[in-house]
Assembly symmetry: D2
Homo-oligomer: 378 residues x 4
């Protein structure tokens, strides 16, 4: 009932604040026998890490994970996995003023209203710092879905401000496209359309230099899907993925396939025709859709086509410009949010969103195995 | 773990198919002492009812609810409330062909892939018929939030195809605006902008006459909100509302406040300034935001401002035009989906979406009361 | 969070009162493809049915189940199964006095204290009438565990008052022993030790004729167990079975294997030695224990040995003798509980306890399949 | 669905093994504003600590708790509380043989059967070492129920082997009786009947010296109860308490009030009469029962009388005597379990059982507040 757990069969529970000793995640339900090492976690944590470039906050965190349980001799045991990531660079001085006033766009006021008190330091539990625990859990989830059915989750930045990337075939994008520029230097924005990536980077730098911030859209694609994942009625795959993405800070919109763009199409234009695909090489024929306007889910259940979803991320609420607000005592005041903030959340949002999608898929994969998957493959 | 339950403190569990004996819902956790009668349920079920106008399916259902438990001498007892709505007009002949072939845009194929079998009659469990149970539960939830904190949920159609309604002040729309035209005749489209309503109706009729279908956008506004509802991290109010709306058939996008439109704003433009409001008449001053671009939720927790959210609903998948698909045996075929279908889901979607929003709010209200609300008011 | 649901993967939700229109159960998570008919339900409901003999209440209920959903063409579809059993013989006159005074030993007072109101008719939601929904769900669960791993749940009466049955080999008891006397007439007490059965019957009749009631002990044995069911830490098999049995009205004690009798044994006497069994006929050798003092569960996980558990059932609280109590207004009064009551709950408790045990096993079987079972058999 | 979480509104999730880096617990749902310090945790952890006397294992653990989150400026914030207790004295050499063979009475075989692998060191996740996390969570729960309604949980040893304590008034026992002898030295057995305590201690020492072990019965009493806690049907207070106690290692029986002893009473003897108590001093009269054979729960809901429950704890499975078993390869072998073990679990079981009872009560208190408590007190 409280909010720090997610999932049913693959269950993730987190704790931790921005400026406490650290963040911890317990992953319960991971199948036994999956190779898992700190290196697996480090890889994903590194992509989320603050301070990785001039486009992100300068907060410096090593984000070194410690596996406290659930792994024995290099493999998961099937019992609960706990991972601890300590907070290192908790600069208290930056946050003294936040005790006094509510930052616009942040959870300061709503937490105060809910609990009658709050940890004001960097937003406390509401800080995006907590996503470090999600990314650690997501690294485990990635292994579960890769082992289980070959699922692969890939995200990238589709839009920043007015700059929209051209990604004609989402299923063909690779992590290399997203992480690296052709010359080998890192793709700081994580946009596979390199022309757009350059423009996005320039836009973010301009906004940053103006003491302001900007939002955008991330797109996530999942290939290697297995038809049948998802549950009827309330736990539709799109419902649980939607919840997962909306549980992330700053997400204000989520859409699948054609999304809001579906509105101006007729049903006859929007429906995807079913056809039989013959993969050849002795593989059995399979039912696919000619197009993928539905985004891989029908009736809430995966069709086996790539999942395709997008999240709208609002401009970072912390801006250096002075803004109107009130103090906890109810007096008007002006506040310029100092400290170290991402001028655009999108580049670091990509690995976080991927983690949440992987967690949902791991959960639904194990649920499906329990009810129907085992008997069908047996 | 299976998908037919929703909510933690106010828990809704449904069962039923399109062409079985009926649909049933169990609402567990409703507080005691709330007046509840079949008339309360009938009012909402009537708004969802098929056959209410030429814009909806001609399937004719009385949708008479029977309260099986949980109400004694006109009031809720605090124990589980079960409500049964029988299916009456289950026209089997219409669905014979659906055993053979998968309808494009529907769950026929994905259910078959998941379960290895399916109730093909009208989509079985995947039919929107199951929403009758949600609307019954939503009628209970409406009473819980009205009694509990004065919450009021109102939805309307914001867009159909290219026709966009002009709704400058969502918080000022009333149910009368949505349900009735000025002359007293029903507002068939449920759009409070009457000029747009007339154009939407004409568009839907054109599309229907062409054997096709069309989608749109519904907007939901909740007034009377109490600051503090929602949980940190995974069970943010926006996460649970997002899940609730995405759990509805045909929803392919959800957004809050500025939604996807936030992308082209700067942070300094997007943040809503906090100010102190002095309601007068002896009421205590309270913190509000000058504008409501955030849509009533910050950090996942309600700010007390009106909730504002929108859902994109795809064009009805059932169209009379012939479409390419495959049979269960894997042979290509053409299918024209006969039977009785809404050419546009939006008018009947409004009460269904309202029900889900009310259910989420009832759930979070009871959760909040348990953890913090009781001590704060005491 | 409210209390009318049980189980995670095989999820049972009930509603209904003693004197409302009926009781309903939704079983969510049942695998697809299991043959299920009203006859399967009737068989178990008939064993629980009131009025089946002079040892039970004379309330007369046909207990005819109606399957509302989840079954299509004779088989489960994998979606939620709803079953309705209407109340027929709700004799209101018997219960008029219960509005006024709290029955000793019953939930009248505690419900009033909790909810500030109550349905006084026959105990309302607290009546053992609600177990009709559990038995219907248990009939589904029995099929799941029989299909899934060959599990078979059998209960019987081990003790009534001072009369203790001699059951040297619980695993060898059959339903025929429990349900029938050698001559073919029904075994009214459901005790497989026929000498004890006759004495128990005489004792119950004596107690009944004295206007009093008596308790006893039921024993449940599960054969065909698969090693590995159960979860670590909180959801140990013994924990979930314990919860299931304690959730039944009148159960005041539960024990496994040697149970409370373990206290006077030394560890070296209590531990069961592991040995390897060679079943022959080409079946692989398997690890078993020489004795079964542990009752089939070690560390909360099934060992594959028969489950063996017992529940203590208190004497029926409703007795015809006049007892001291208070009215809802707080005045002392004397109350003789009229109406129709079982002088001893044990005979009808047996099928109810079996149902709960089957539900727990179905749930853990599906949980186990999801996490580890599928990969191990694949 | 996996087993490492407990509770709905006050939700406890644990991770950790006997010989991993440490054990961690996340407590989610604790109300804000409760004073909480490491000293509060240390007090309870110290009572559970190994090595506290010659009656317990000689494993030496400081069991120093680190609060990682959820507490700010000395008070709970309302968000998730994480507590880490590192393992210090993990003596690997003792456990080398356990990789090879299954210890009788332990979970070695059932874990291997479930997961196909296991952490053999000291039982891994199945070790009673995990209860350190429960006791930390229980220390938080104690504060919640003390603050919330004045609830106080007290346990003691009622029986060891054949030695039964005489405790005529469980509600009058104090922690001083349980923890200290009259001279001030510690009451090593935690039995408030001092004559029995001395005999129990001698018995445990004899058994220990013989390389064997012995079991017993613990009794838990909760005073300061509020009528109305507990939920109908499945989440009865006795059901959740039963699950909590059965989730503890070595518990093989649980009973309430008269428990298994109810069997030989008649209903007229067993029912507790309701009477009105006039506390005087201006306090309102209240309904109580003259006797407390029911143990404080009727219909699954608390009556306000003291809770009274008992758990049977089997003799420690680890004994120094050589026992028959099999190896993981299926060969017969003899095993003497070396290492450091409690010859009788009861003395350290008391604080662990108290913790679980406190957790259940905190959970049901918050659930009750959400549904009915807030409105009734308002």
């Amino acid at each position: 009932m409280p909010g720090s757990s997610f999932g049913a069969a693959f269950r993730v529970t987190t704790a931790g604040e921005s400026h406490g000793p650290g963040n911890v995640v317990i992953v319960d339900g991971c199948p036994p026998g999956i190779a898992l090492s700190p290196a697996d976690l480090r890889r994903e944590l590194g992509r989320r890490r603050p301070g990785q470039s001039g486009l992100t906050t300068s907060r410096d965190e090593a984000d070194e994970p410690e596996i406290l349980s659930g792994v024995f001799e290099g493999c998961t045991t099937g019992t609960a996995i706990a991972i601890l990531v300590r907070n290192a660079d908790a600069c208290r001085a930056d946050y003294a003023e936040l005790r006094r006033a509510f930052r616009p766009g942040h959870a300061d006021f709503s937490y105060q209203a809910k609990y009658g008190r709050r940890d004001h330091r960097g937003g406390g539990r509401a800080s995006a710092r907590e996503t470090v625990a999600r990314v650690a859990a997501g690294a485990v989830a990635r292994k579960v879905i890769a082992d289980g059915f070959g699922g692969r989750v890939l995200g990238y930045v589709r839009q920043v401000g007015e700059v929209i990337a051209d990604v004609s075939d989402p299923g063909a994008v690779t992590r290399e496209h997203v992480e690296s520029m052709p010359g080998g230097e890192p793709n700081l924005v994580r946009c596979p359309d390199l022309v757009a990536a350059v423009r996005m980077q320039a836009l973010i730098e301009d906004v940053r230099d103006a003491g302001d911030s900007i939002g955008g859209v991330a797109e996530i694609v999942v290939t290697g899907m297995v038809a049948g994942l998802g549950e009827p009625v309330f736990d539709k795959l799109k419902a649980d993925l939607g919840k997962a993405l909306f549980s992330l800070p700053a997400v204000v919109g989520v859409e699948y396939g054609t999304g809001f763009g579906c509105v101006t199409l007729r049903g006859s234009e929007h429906n995807d025709a079913f056809v039989v695909e013959h993969p050849g090489d002795g593989a059995p024929p399979r039912v696919v859709t000619e197009t993928n306007r539905h985004g891989g889910i029908l009736g809430g259940i995966a069709t086996g086509m790539p999942l395709l979803l997008r999240a709208a991320v609002k401009p970072t609420s912390s801006v250096a410009l002075r803004q109107q607000t009130v103090t906890a005592a109810g007096d008007p005041t002006k506040l310029a949010v100092g400290g170290r903030h991402d001028p655009c959340l999108l580049p670091r949002f990509v690995p976080i969103a991927e983690a949440m999608v992987a967690i949902v898929l791991a959960d639904h994969y194990l649920r499906w195995r329990g009810q129907v998957g085992a008997s069908r493959s047996g």
